[in-house]
């Protein structure tokens, strides 16, 4: 490939890839400016810095070569279609109505930028507003931002909200967070000198130790408490009880929740959590090997000014007509700079619209029925598996669509055997929480049929026996 721009032969310049200008057009534009080469436009770039060769990139592909290339890579991945998957641990295989994809692939939404000029983007703003509205109802707290990166960063940002609101730098954290969430908290908070105090889970029930929390809070100086429910042991936390402990000590509480659980049981916001953080993936986002997902933060009104990221609000135009716009931007980086509540600029807006469409498609009744179906399916498989010899529940607590087993063998070995049989059996429980490697977290969603559950139980029996 000869990279040299031959400006004297501009008319032969063919637009490559997605480029638009023909040589004649380049020439015409240069002439308007009184220039005669594209080179002159880069006169301010010191010659000694200029790249004197073409970038060393693989050759350009035609569209069909690209499809072949990427299809070949896609075929190197196993998926929840190639295997019967019972993986969870923060990402779940769920039904996504086809309407969701149909709406978010419309170019007006897909190719929009952040709606800085509200009159150009009323529909987009309204869709985001509806996301905030519906999610606020779902999680039980009314103030919702327009999304952050994912569930883990939502939790980290929530912790900082508690620090900012309280002026304190100590956060009490339940031990049984997803390991990856715990690591993100470390990354986000330790540089800001926030102290993270971990509280153990009850070895029997899997619930966080409320008394221990109470003890820590009584010492004072705590910005807030952080729980996850269902937690990394698959156990639903007693949010109301911990909220009471927090309230007694005038301390804030953040709960990271699986949002689908809020279709079955009362939401953390209703139970007293000041902040509810969640991963939106179970609300209509593709698994996509881990991203892009979206983090949601819902909080009580007094905490709103500590929210990171964008907020859409109702406003009025000069004639008094109702409309929508980004509001309360004084919290944000482009206005507050180093005093902003967060650095977040790009968020996950299109995924927020996905959530709004998803929740609208399902509606109250189906959403609740699907949540119940998740719980029922998990309960059924749990019963089948704990009846197998040597298998018992790891913790006795209340489960939703995920439960942890204690296997008679190493969970990784079991998982490997099951995989050979075409099943993704679950995710081993973090040994840092339970002290051994025999815990396996099994997720069961509405996508699993009775035949799938049968197959799991049948293959599990064989794999426990060493096959």
């Amino acid at each position: 490939m000869n990279q040299k721009q031959n400006d004297s032969a501009l008319e032969e310049r063919v637009p490559v890839g997605y480029n638009v200008h023909t040589g004649a057009e380049v020439q015409a534009m240069l002439e308007v400016m009184g220039l005669d080469s594209v080179e002159q436009l880069f006169a301010d770039v010191p010659a000694e810095l200029r790249l004197r060769r073409a970038l060393s990139l693989p050759p350009a592909l035609s569209e069909w070569e690209l499809m072949r290339d990427v299809r070949a890579m896609a075929d190197m991945n196993a998926t929840v279609l190639s295997h019967s998957s019972f993986l969870g641990c923060g990402a779940y295989e769920h039904y996504i109505p086809a309407v969701v994809d149909a709406i978010v692939s419309r170019g007006e939404f897909l190719t929009a930028y952040t709606p800085y000029q509200p009159e150009m983007s009323q529909g987009l703003l309204q869709a985001l507003f509806e996301f905030q509205l519906l999610v606020g109802r779902l999680l039980g707290r009314e103030c919702v931002n327009c999304s952050v990166y994912d569930g883990a960063t939502a939790l980290a940002e929530s912790c900082w909200m508690m620090c900012a609101a309280s002026g304190l730098r100590r956060v009490v954290v339940a031990q049984a967070l997803w390991p990856q969430y715990r690591e993100v908290l470390d990354t986000y908070l330790l540089p800001r000198a926030v102290e993270l105090e971990h509280v153990a889970q009850d070895p029997e029930t899997g619930l966080v130790d409320g008394a221990a929390i109470g003890g820590l809070l009584a010492q004072g100086n705590v910005a807030g408490v952080v729980l996850q429910s269902p937690n990394a042991l698959g156990v639903i936390e007693d949010v109301a009880a911990i909220a009471q402990v927090c309230a007694q000590n005038d301390t804030l509480l953040t709960v990271s929740v699986n949002p689908l659980l809020c279709g079955w049981l009362e939401a953390p916001g209703q139970l007293g959590a000041d902040i509810v953080a969640c991963e939106a993936q179970p609300l209509g986002l593709a698994l996509s090997a881990g991203g892009p997902y979206a983090g949601i933060i819902a909080c009580a009104k007094p905490l709103e000014r500590y929210l990171p990221g964008r907020l859409v609000g109702r406003v009025h135009d000069l004639h008094g007509k109702l409309g929508y716009a980004l509001v309360k931007e004084d919290r944000e980086q482009h206005v507050a700079r180093d005093r902003a509540t967060s650095h977040i600029c790009s968020n996950q807006a299109l995924n927020a619209i996905r959530v709004a469409v998803h929740l609208s498609c399902l509606g109250e009744r189906n959403f609740m029925r699907i949540a119940q179906l998740n719980a029922a399916n998990a309960l059924q498989l749990r019963a089948r598996l704990t009846a197998l010899p040597g298998v018992e529940l790891l913790r006795s607590g209340v489960h939703f669509n995920e439960f942890a087993l204690r296997l008679p063998l190493d969970a990784a070995v079991f998982r490997a055997r099951m995989r050979v049989r075409g099943l993704f059996a679950g995710v081993p429980v973090d040994p840092r929480i339970v002290g051994h490697g025999r815990g396996l977290l099994v997720a069961v969603t509405e996508t699993k049929s009775p035949a799938d559950l049968d197959a799991y139980a049948r293959h599990a029996r064989a794999c426990l026996q060493g096959a």
């Binding site: 997605y18 534009m29 770039v45 709406i103 983007s121 507003f129 206005v335 507050a336 790009s346 399902l362």
Partner: protein, 470 residues
């Protein structure tokens, strides 16, 4: 007619029965113990046809690059190729679960390894991590690496310098990474004031964060001197890649002396922005800093791409999973379609378009800095009979998306430039499109009465009149 909200479309009992005959007949019994059943959420019940019509209508009341130019300076969008959206929908990627064994995600690692290499080549860096969710998180990761680097050698450098024209994310990320921020003023030419910079380069300074070309659309022509001064102080030089689309294949941050860089894939690599995100902000570094990169960093061993499991000095995890696979695939598709020649042409066109627009708009909106610009240009509203805000809203009356004004975009203008507009056409606007924009600018400029009465808008078909306070 205001569009009703989806909640207002609620009809009790309306949602269709999506579970069909497969649902369990009886409701799930309440769980034992403390758990209380949810009685009501407040989600709307509407038919599928209602949902489709509602959101189709909302989409039609929105503006995207598919509808026309979106020339917000610095926050602009170029054309988002449709093919790349298809890549992200391939079930081999879309239906892979992040907690699968790493050896069942070979396609993800293969794509990552190739994309890492392309990012390194384009930026002139040695190692790369694709995980950051957006440019701001790329910055944050970069700053944490800087922090880790100095901490490792026991050096206390609590300060980061940023120019006054920097994106707001720079100081905000610095604060989140535990740094104090100091602002370096611009000189009269819109460049970093090198005198002042030199004075500010104290032993406390960990790094200088720079966008080049800057958010004023100007290339820091003394970048070699700046880099030397920063390095002589023992500090690191960070490159905010927001405007890299101006320089691809022409000059590389690594060759300019930068030590770390992040790339905004939506702007430089054409991934759609979806009204705010998701994006991705790969971070790339010189070899000396590679060990600090967050995970996953993908390496090729015996021909097989795989995440490097042995990275004890890494700053750790910045996201729950491996990164925005669905977004990065699109960036991969773009780079493979463009190739080296296409990327260089894109940067040339970006700069050509910005200068052309600057030149043609000059009689109405002269450039604040009368010189070559790169990807965008800052225009002065001094000749307008009205405010730039009114001018912008009038553009909307004509269905044209306005440039960036202070406070309505993710940029910050230094000094007394409140009446400026930042405009970035991007490389995928044709000459015809630019000429059409210029014509409408001219028409508005010529309008006799630039006052509130022109603001009605309805007769030109926009949905809202000007929004109060915006």
């Amino acid at each position: 007619m205001p569009t009703p909200s989806i909640a207002e479309l609620h009809r009790p009992g309306a949602a269709s029965n999506v579970l069909a005959d497969s649902a369990p007949a009886a409701a799930m019994p309440p769980p034992p113990g403390f758990a209380r059943l949810r009685s009501c959420i407040g989600l709307p019940q509407v038919s599928e046809v209602d949902v489709v019509r509602h959101f189709t209508r909302l989409s039609q009341e929105s503006h995207g690059v598919d509808n026309g130019p979106y020339p917000l300076g610095s926050c602009t969008m170029k054309y988002n190729p449709k093919r790349n959206d298809e890549l992200a929908r391939l079930p081999g990627f879309a239906c892979a679960h992040p907690m699968q064994d790493a050896d069942t995600l070979g396609g993800v690692w293969e794509m990552y390894e190739r994309l890492q290499a392309m990012v390194c080549e384009i930026t002139g860096m040695d190692a790369c991590c694709l995980a950051p969710a957006a440019g701001a998180q790329g910055e944050f990761a970069g700053l944490l690496m800087i922090r880790r680097h100095f901490a490792r050698f026991g050096v206390h450098r609590p300060v980061v310098l940023v120019p006054d024209s920097a994106h707001g994310t720079n100081p905000a990320s610095a604060a989140m990474a535990g740094f104090a921020c100091r602002i370096v003023p611009s000189d009269a030419k819109g460049r970093v004031d090198r005198q002042l910079l030199r004075a500010m380069l104290t032993p406390e300074v960990a790094a200088f964060m720079l966008t080049n070309p800057s958010t004023l659309g100007l290339f820091e022509d003394q970048i070699v001197e700046i880099a030397d001064a920063v390095h002589a102080n023992g500090s690191l030089l960070y490159y905010d890649g927001a405007n890299l689309n101006a320089l691809m294949g022409i000059v590389r941050p690594g060759d300019m002396g930068f030590d770390l860089v992040h790339v905004n894939v939506h702007k430089t690599f054409s991934t759609p922005h979806g009204g705010g995100g998701p994006g991705a902000g790969p971070v790339a570094v010189k070899a000396a800093l590679a060990q600090y990169l967050p995970g996953p960093v993908v390496v090729r061993r015996s021909g097989l791409a795989q995440p490097d499991g042995d990275r004890p000095l890494s700053i750790g995890r910045i996201k729950a999973f491996h990164g925005h696979v669905g977004v990065l695939l699109r960036a991969y598709g773009y780079l493979r379609t463009m190739g080296a020649r296409g990327l260089r042409q894109a940067s040339e066109n970006a700069v050509l378009n910005a200068n052309y627009l600057q030149h043609r708009l000059a009689p109405m909106l002269p450039p604040v800095y009368a010189q070559l610009c790169k990807h965008e240009t800052l225009l002065s509203g001094a000749k307008l009979k009205t405010s730039v805000r009114q001018f912008a809203k009038r553009l909307i009356d004509y269905g044209i998306h306005p440039p960036t004004l202070v406070g309505a975009g993710c940029v910050y203008f230094p000094g007394d430039l409140k009446s400026a507009m930042l405009i970035e056409p991007t490389e995928t606007e044709t000459k015809a499109s630019l000429d059409c924009q210029v014509d409408i600018f001219q028409r508005i400029f010529n309008e006799d009465a630039m006052d509130e009465t022109l603001d009605g808008g309805a007769r030109l078909g926009r949905k809202m009149a000007r929004i109060d306070g915006n």
